[in-house]
């Protein structure tokens, strides 16, 4: 792959392609783009992100009604749509801190509803945390302390490719612990290090609540639960109880089952709730902690930023400038049907905007595909490639700077949103 800038010096980068947010990346862009990280194994997701970013034009032009135009005209067109809207939907929200700060300001001014493209998964975690709380840990604790890791419903690597290289198979840990024992429940890892207990995702609540019952000293009058011998479950429980530091990993995004719309709690939420109970009970006598995996596209970043600015994570809205929160009503799916304008944002990856009858503004990755020509499309820089930024890691505790890696004439999302906001304010005063 040819790179447009021919920068011979290797660049330090932070990779926003997944929630691990690896910052031990060196990018050499001499002739071919090459990627090095702290591990011997290349990360497929990271390579895809940087290759795709390097292939993306650094000078794409905006369009209005499918026709190329200049930025000023596109900003005006976007401002007109928002001015004529009473309840716009801001969806996608694939951005970093600076972008989200300006999105929140614009949302407050326009009474928008905010929902992230991966909120279905996030909400299962957030709602569990709001219902019962939880006990969680972070990546460096896992690396240095975990001696048993139970992955539930996820092989981890497909969403977070370097998890094992960085945190499990590491040679250096602070307390000279052995390599952790990996156990998978309801997921089959491709590279089979560790043991796997196969089961249907739909059966996870039953199985984990059996673990909870056993841990609470209940006797079971059955040989097997969801086709898993009870002995297998008691063995698993013993390992968790005897661990010095057990970590239970889940990915709410991987816990979906079909035809579960009628449940009051989503299936994912049922699973997460039972996991959180298990961890809580284990901690009465030994140490254990949870590690929820995120879905990406800045979901952790956007929820944190939204929370400190409005008091709520996404699936919030502004009503006469006052923030409100409703995880049931403020979904993209529901709001697409009732909104009178859609602002779609996806800056890291070219995610297509959903079809919407209302006027649509898309601000995002220059290669964003469309099934329906948007009224306004403003291509913006890719955070961590075209411009700097700040991003939250999946465990929320760490925020890292994203680096600017090439010259780019693309504006950043925050610049574009600020211009739209200024245009709206100017029209109000005019």
């Amino acid at each position: 792959m040819k790179n447009p800038n021919h920068n011979a010096t290797p660049l330090n980068a932070t990779c926003p392609a997944c929630g691990l947010l690896c910052d031990d990346i060196t990018l050499s862009t001499a002739a071919e783009l090459t990627l090095q990280n702290g591990c011997a194994i290349a990360c497929s997701k990271g390579i895809r992100f940087f290759e795709q970013s390097a292939k993306t034009s650094a000078s794409a032009a905006p369009t209005v009604a499918g026709k190329q135009t200049d930025l000023t005209s596109a900003i005006s067109a976007a401002a007109i749509i928002l001015r004529n809207s009473k309840q716009p939907l801001f969806a996608g929200l694939g951005t970093e801190v600076q972008g989200m700060r300006t999105v929140m300001r614009l949302a407050e001014k326009t009474n928008a509803t905010l929902d992230h493209m991966h909120s279905e998964a996030t909400v299962s975690n957030t709602r569990t945390m709001q219902n019962s709380g939880w006990l969680t840990t972070t990546l460096s604790e896992v690396k240095n302390r975990a001696d048993v890791i139970l992955a539930i419903g996820t092989d981890i690597t497909s969403s977070h490719p370097r998890f094992f290289e960085k945190l499990v198979q590491n040679h250096d840990s602070l307390f000279n612990k052995p390599s952790p024992e990996m156990i998978y429940l309801g997921a089959t890892p491709e590279t089979a290090a560790g043991s796997a207990i196969a089961c249907d995702t739909a059966k996870l609540p039953e199985i984990i609540n059996t673990l909870n019952a056993l841990l609470n000293g209940k006797e079971l009058h059955t040989e097997a639960v969801a086709s898993i011998p009870v002995k297998t479950l008691t063995d698993l429980l013993e390992k968790l109880k005897n661990a010095k530091y057990a970590v239970i990993v889940w990915s709410a995004g991987a816990l979906k089952i079909p035809h579960a719309e009628l449940l009051v709690q989503s299936h994912a939420e049922l699973v997460v709730q039972s996991i959180v109970q298990l961890i809580s009970k284990l901690n009465e006598n030994s140490r254990a902690a949870g590690l929820p995996l995120n879905s990406g596209d800045g979901d952790t970043t956007v929820n944190n930023t939204s929370t400190w600015l409005s008091g709520y994570p996404t699936r919030n809205r502004f009503n006469n400038g006052m923030p409100e929160y409703d995880t049931y009503h403020n979904t993209t799916q529901k709001q697409l049907a009732s909104c009178d304008a859609l602002l779609w944002i996806s800056t890291f990856t070219p995610h297509a905007a959903p079809d919407c009858k209302a006027p649509t503004i898309a601000i995002g990755h220059p290669d964003t595909p469309f099934t329906q020509v948007p009224d306004v499309f403003i291509p913006v820089g890719i955070p961590g490639f075209d411009h700097a930024g700040q991003m939250f890691r999946m465990d929320s505790s760490i925020t890292l700077p994203l680096k600017k890696l090439r010259d780019s004439s693309l504006p950043s999302l925050s610049e574009v949103i600020t211009m739209i906001e200024a245009k709206l304010s100017a029209e109000v005063t005019a």
Binding site: G133, T138, L139, I398
Partner: protein, 561 residues
């Protein structure tokens, strides 16, 4: 441009001014000497009869960073309008709500800045920045308008420091690391929370006493306090080591607190939210006030300062770095939920919602213990007015707390409505002291500014930043302190009659003592081997704070005393 504040009654304890009527001149955001008669006065405010103080400084308030945001996220019910009126008028303290008094335990960053400035506070300090989480703390504080900010970085439970100590590294190595942390996290002070205990919890220890060892490092909290208080002293930063003692909230913990006072061998230490650490084990319920013993020790030990962490009744949330004790106390959470975290071989956190009830024996006594401490500690320069926001109560309760301190009748009326068993266990009504305006100005202005080392804030001397609050003298001190007539931030009028009239953005106060950069060699190796982020990305640059065009880093140096 010159602004004249004319004929105000000045309460400026840093200059021994106790209600004297004087004029204040402001030019370019600073207080200046009386200009020549030929110079034009652009604005004059006639403050005849008004009470004039420097802007108040909250030296301990959880206003930004991971655990505060967790509290917001886990408690969406607090944000709702109806839930904001959680504290009803029927409660015994007869709290009078001002229009902006939301009793909001988890305000957004915007609300935090607005509510502070509306009460005449012009600066607040986040006391528990975990170094790995410092970037988030500064992002949140960067989005907090109106007031100046700053923070204390937490050490003493991080594995890097404990390895230094266990490896018997010399004090210079410790000092260099502590200074490096101050720079990297853009902090102005160092805090230690449950010294060694947060780390010990990760090794499944559930309690840690002052002279008990962390099982892995075989180091005691006392050794940690000695090492860190020495480092802070040697580095010459003003703010003494900020200490959240071991055994938070546990009956009988006053003994630990008394012992802790001796741990620094006479070097300055600040014991924070000391109310939560002043509990005895007397009486039928094995929970009693040890405020008298703690106050006596504070009066005697001149190297110790303390803030109270007063509780007030109502719904709030406790957000602490003390994962060990918060996990232990999670059973008392109301509503029953808690977030506990182990964080990055660096720190921990525990967030529990809490409802303090006047008819609950323990809560009622906690309320009394806080006030007993305020009234029994003699030197207002060494005791500070805090509720450990939001842990004891939201900071919006300060005007109410000030009235409790200044008005004995009001205080005793409130006391008479408490849980009766708690009343029999407190000597509060025998304490006749009523704080004066001058003493309030010490606790909330001059003392706080001096403690943190803000040389140009907390007082009204020539050269000071013109952060000034003007009140109408009213017998109802709660009404008075709820709604200043005017607040000036850096000489600009930003609040009029308790309402914000101009939005401004404060600075971030830091301390950056010199150190041997050679410390980075070992740190880099440590980060590469054990951490999951690069050392260079751990460090927060000045640009990150000023890049949005609103914030700015101010570095304070200790003045020679």
């Amino acid at each position: 441009m010159i602004t004249l504040l004319k004929n105000g009654r000045i309460y400026d304890p840093a200059h021994n001014k106790n209600g004297v009527v004087e004029d204040i001149y402001i030019r370019d955001g600073r207080i200046v000497a009386k200009p020549a008669v030929t110079e034009k006065i652009d604005h004059t405010f006639d403050l005849s009869g008004k009470v004039v103080m420097a802007g108040a400084i909250d030296m301990h308030s959880h206003i930004g960073g991971g655990k505060v945001n967790i509290a917001r996220m886990m408690l969406p019910e607090y944000q709702q309008k109806q839930a904001q009126e959680l504290k009803s008028l029927s409660e015994p303290e007869a709290h009078i709500c001002t229009p902006h008094c939301s009793h909001h335990a988890t305000p957004s960053t915007t609300d935090t800045g607005f509510r502070y400035i509306e009460m005449g506070y012009t600066a607040a300090f986040e006391p528990a920045i975990s170094p790995v989480n410092a970037r988030q703390a500064h992002l949140e504080m960067g989005d907090t308008p109106m007031i100046d900010k700053g923070g204390y970085a937490m050490l003493g439970n991080d594995d890097y420091f404990l390895r230094l100590l266990a490896g018997k590294k010399d004090q210079k190595a410790i000092n260099d690391y502590v200074a490096w942390i101050l720079h990297a996290t853009q902090a102005i002070g160092i805090k230690v929370v449950n010294p060694g205990g947060i780390n010990a919890f990760k090794f499944n220890q559930r309690r840690l006493d002052l002279d008990e060892n962390n099982v892995h490092y075989q180091i005691s909290p006392r050794e940690i306090l000695q090492s860190l208080s020495r480092a802070v002293h040697d580095l010459g930063i003003a703010k003494p080591l900020h200490v959240h003692c071991n055994n938070l909230g546990a009956a009988g913990n006053f003994a630990t607190t008394l012992d802790t006072m001796s741990a620094s061998s006479g070097l300055p230490m600040h014991l924070t939210h000391i109310q939560f650490h002043s509990y005895g084990t007397e009486g039928d319920k094995k929970f009693s006030s040890a405020a008298a013993q703690i106050a006596e020790a504070l009066n005697k030990n001149k190297h110790i300062t303390a803030d109270v962490g007063q509780i007030l009744f109502g719904q709030t949330v406790t957000a602490s770095g003390d994962s060990m004790m918060q996990h232990l106390n999670a059973k008392h959470a109301n509503p029953k939920k808690s977030v506990i975290m182990d964080i990055e071989c660096d720190a921990g956190c525990g967030v529990l919602p809490f409802k303090y009830r006047d008819q609950n024996y323990v809560n009622a006594l906690q309320w009394a213990i806080g006030l007993e401490l305020f009234l029994s500690v003699e030197d207002p320069w060494r005791i500070f007015l805090t509720t450990d926001h939001p842990n004891g109560a939201p900071f919006t309760s300060y005007p109410h707390l000030i009235r409790l301190l200044m008005d004995k009748t009001f205080r005793n009326d409130a006391f008479s409505k408490l849980n009766l068993d708690a009343q029999t266990m407190s000597n509060l009504t025998s304490l006749d002291r009523e704080y004066s305006l001058y003493e309030i100005a010490i606790m909330t202005r001059a003392g706080a500014g001096k403690l943190i080392g803000l040389n140009d804030r907390g007082h009204l001397g020539t050269g000071a930043a013109a952060d000034i609050t003007v009140y109408t003298d009213q017998p109802d001190r709660e009404a008075m302190f709820s709604k200043p007539d005017y607040v000036f931030k850096n000489g600009e009028l930003v609040v009029k009659n308790g309402n914000v009239v101009k939005v401004v953005w404060g600075v971030t106060h830091t301390a950056k003592p010199t150190f041997d950069i050679g410390v980075e060699k070992d740190l880099k190796d440590y980060f590469n081997r054990y951490q999951t982020m690069q050392m260079d990305n751990f460090k927060i640059s000045n640009d990150e704070i000023s890049d949005d065009g609103r914030g700015r880093v101010v570095v304070h140096h200790k003045t020679n005393e």
